[in-house]
Symmetry: C2
Subunit: 274 residues, 2 copies
């Protein structure tokens, strides 16, 4: 067994360990639904319908003009980050920058955005040729049943779902003639319910680590991820937590820490997934 003191657990080598999911090209992309429905759903009518179309075109779709949502996503990301930064700056007048950063991250990370996109069925309107996407989305939908608000790294959101939301935000921003206020009116609805300081949870590794420090416990990890996709957490030669996820090590680690916390310290504080 390889023993590692988990202080912090993040010391496990997590880089470059995401296994690539193969995405074969399918010949017949799913027929996109009418984008009018998106406009109704999000409560915003585009003046320039081309922007809306661009926002819902994945690079895999290969249009004649080579357009895809990637540039809109880049722009939308900066719009969204600013909108949430400003909201929090105004709402939480005495919050320190570190806390503001953590709160914003939880609201705009891949999982939060993927959840919002799914809630509005935005993926159904995406023009793409990614045959595995439906399976990934299905898995994500099953995953979030266990974690009603945010899993904090315990499930694996398909990045494309978050991308759609960001590209849509970029498109709205341009369509409103770069009006942050008008964009916010739409975005605020899309992101409900926002995570607040009251509902913000600690990431499982930080939470477990902190509890161990308080109790003077020295946990260590048995890293079998390369072989089995599994991480075990030990205290005093006894397994107290296990986590498994073959595609991304960080998720296996988070699950192991969450499991270990639950077993070692109970879950009476309404913690993650409680």
């Amino acid at each position: 067994m390889e023993q590692q003191i988990i202080d912090p657990l993040q010391n496990l080598n997590l880089e470059q360990q995401q296994q690539k999911t193969t995405e074969q090209k399918s010949l017949s992309p799913p027929p996109p639904q009418s984008l009018n429905e998106v406009e109704k759903m999000i409560g915003y009518d585009f003046k320039n319908k081309e922007l809306l179309k661009e926002a819902f075109t994945d690079a895999s779709y290969k249009t004649e003009d080579g357009v895809s949502y990637e540039r809109l996503e880049y722009l939308g990301d900066s719009v969204l980050n600013h909108l949430i930064a400003k909201l929090h700056y105004v709402l939480y007048k005495s919050m320190a920058p570190g806390e503001l950063t953590r709160l914003r991250a939880a609201n705009v990370d891949t999982e939060a955005l993927a959840r919002a996109a799914l809630k509005y069925d935005l993926h159904k309107y995406l023009r793409h040729r990614k045959p595995l996407l439906d399976v990934q989305i299905q898995e994500f939908m099953e995953g979030i049943l266990e974690y009603p608000s945010h899993s904090y790294g315990m499930i694996d959101p398909p990045k494309v779902l978050a991308d759609i939301l960001e590209s849509l935000i970029g498109a709205i921003f341009l369509d409103t003639n770069s009006s942050m206020d008008d964009t916010w009116k739409v975005v605020e609805r899309l992101l409900q319910p926002l995570i607040t300081p009251e509902t913000l949870m600690q990431h499982p590794v930080a939470k477990f680590h902190e509890a161990c420090q308080k109790s003077g416990l020295k946990p260590y990890a048995n890293d079998m991820w390369n072989k089995t996709g599994e991480i075990e957490i030990y205290i005093n030669d006894e397994v107290i937590g296990r986590g498994c996820y073959k595609l991304k090590k960080i998720i296996a680690v988070n699950r192991a820490a969450h499991d270990a916390y639950k077993n070692q310290f109970g879950n009476k504080d309404g913690g993650i997934g409680a």
Copy 2:
């Protein structure tokens, strides 16, 4: 000698290796110059002078109301990132997101912002109790003489200089009633000259690595940073580059790669520092 194949050089363990510079408290802070001068210099008159004052108050100064520029800096960072993202989105209509990201990063990284702050002498107006700051600024001023536009990681900009610029941007944004357009008018001037796709350089490690790959060379590094602050780069048992910087390993590595590139491939392409 510890041999390491540098493929990429970034494999050198660069985390947590920045030595903390000790900052003793001085009893008498330098008397701040009048903030009117800042307004004249940047061409913007604050309606709310308190915002301006807040933007120029470091946490070390310990005001009675506990105000410092940190929250304004957080806000200003999101404003600046969005402004540059939008500018590039509009200017470079066919640029891929990866390139947009790289171009933005070069324009808003600590060094770029520190250079702008220094150009307008903004540090002279900062209320702080950091007796070592003047020395650090002096070193930075000497460093940039060698690299007229951007050193791409070869010199060590004092973070506080970049912070002042971001907090100033946050203050202007609030003072203009959250007008991105009005804020941009000031920011655009402050950041001149912006780095463009034509003037954007590769980071030294990437540049060296790429040239080695093209030439089929296999460089490796001798990492003596922990002992002497030095990194040596070898090809076939021969030292071809050296870099030294005791406070931050990444800077020693960048300097070594730059030196190795110069010695191995010449510097005829108008490269960094040419």
